[in-house]
């Protein structure tokens, strides 16, 4: 393979392909923490958590909000399959703030409810952070 410093990155949701670009570095939120990928990374299949996806490409940087899904890397192709991906300008700040309010007032009676609450808060907080960046 020719020596290149970039690899292909595509972010796909059920509704549409969100992003297709060449990237020099991608950082994605894996289920157990953030993970970075550079060119010629070994094949990987990984579950995603909630977080920010940062793509550094020669044309510029992209930051997306990602809520779960899967990442697959093979032959310098990174595919992010997620059910929800939002670019910075697609985040509705008012709606996210409302979500944050809802999340804060969620009940925490059971272990599952505590987890759901912390997920909901994380979801809102990351979107707010991305929209402000």
């Amino acid at each position: 393979m020719a020596k290149t410093s970039t690899f292909h990155c595509s972010v796909i949701t059920p509704e549409r392909p969100v992003l297709e670009c060449e990237a020099s570095f991608v950082s994605f939120p894996a289920h157990d923490g953030e993970m970075g990928a550079l060119v010629n990374r070994g094949p990987l299949v990984c579950k995603l958590g909630i977080g920010a996806l940062r793509v550094e490409s020669p044309e510029g940087k992209h930051t997306l909000f990602v809520d779960g899904g899967f990442a697959q890397i093979a032959d310098n192709h990174l595919t992010i399959l997620t059910e929800q991906a939002k670019k910075k300008d697609e985040i509705d700040v008012a709606a996210v703030n409302a979500l944050m309010g809802e999340a804060r007032s969620m009940a925490t009676a059971t272990v599952e409810a505590v987890e759901a609450k912390s997920d909901a808060i994380k979801r809102a907080a990351i979107q707010i952070k991305i929209s402000k960046s």
């Binding site: 796909i12 059920p14 392909p17 990987l44 299949v45 899967f70």
Partner: protein, 291 residues
Amino acid sequence: MASARIIVKRRKTVRNIRKITRTMQLIATARFQAALARATASKPYTERLARLVSDLSSVTEEVTHPLMRPAADVKKSAMVVITSNRGLCGGYNSNVLRTALSHLKCAEDAGISSDVHMVGKKGCNYFKFLGREFDETLPDITDKPRFDQIEPLANDLMGRFVAGEIASVQVCYMQFLSAGKQSATVAQLLPLQQDAVEGVEETSHNTQYDFSPDPEALLADLLPATVRIRLFQCFTEAIASEQIARMVAMKAATEAAGDMITSLTRQYNRARQTAITMELLDIVGGANALD
């Protein structure tokens, strides 16, 4: 024969109707193109997901998952029926409903009762008319279904399936095969069939992946995602089919109105000619009487 004035009036009415149906045809065409674009936009996700599932299932020895297990002892299943909210789309709704009813009847004969999840006003009204029980599902769905609207329904169905409340889930909808062909189908959503995990023939099976978490855990998350996207695709396809059915129905209506105008014009000409002839005869008769 009707008088020329009445025929002219009728012709005017038919012309107005033709204008309306032609406009509706154009609107349906535009909507169909948008719906088709949406239906094809979800293809990449489906394909990649299927490839991922087959990659994973090739490294796990035997794929067993609650979503694939047939629950034989439960005499209950669920059916999602996708109809439209608006009419004037030819046989679209009646085809879907007929297929759904015949399937329900077969299931009832086999002693399985079905929960019907009805999407769309037309189907709801029909089932109300028949006096059958149904659940009105997703009443606020529009031409542009969003994934987050469909997701709760899919999760609810999967939850009930895994809990053993229902033995299977079917979706009855108008499958979009091509722009020229759509057919009302009953597709099985749950239990997932084996082809869901080995449908794609791939050459990348020899790639040694790093898995995080282990393949079994990944697969356990991937299969529900497969179910969700399948249900979502049923919706996008149904909407594309609805618009194409409306387009065809309105095209036929426009053409029928055109034929009617031609025949009315002929009738009018004949009536006018008759009137002129009668008048001439009167005049000639009168003149002859004077001689």
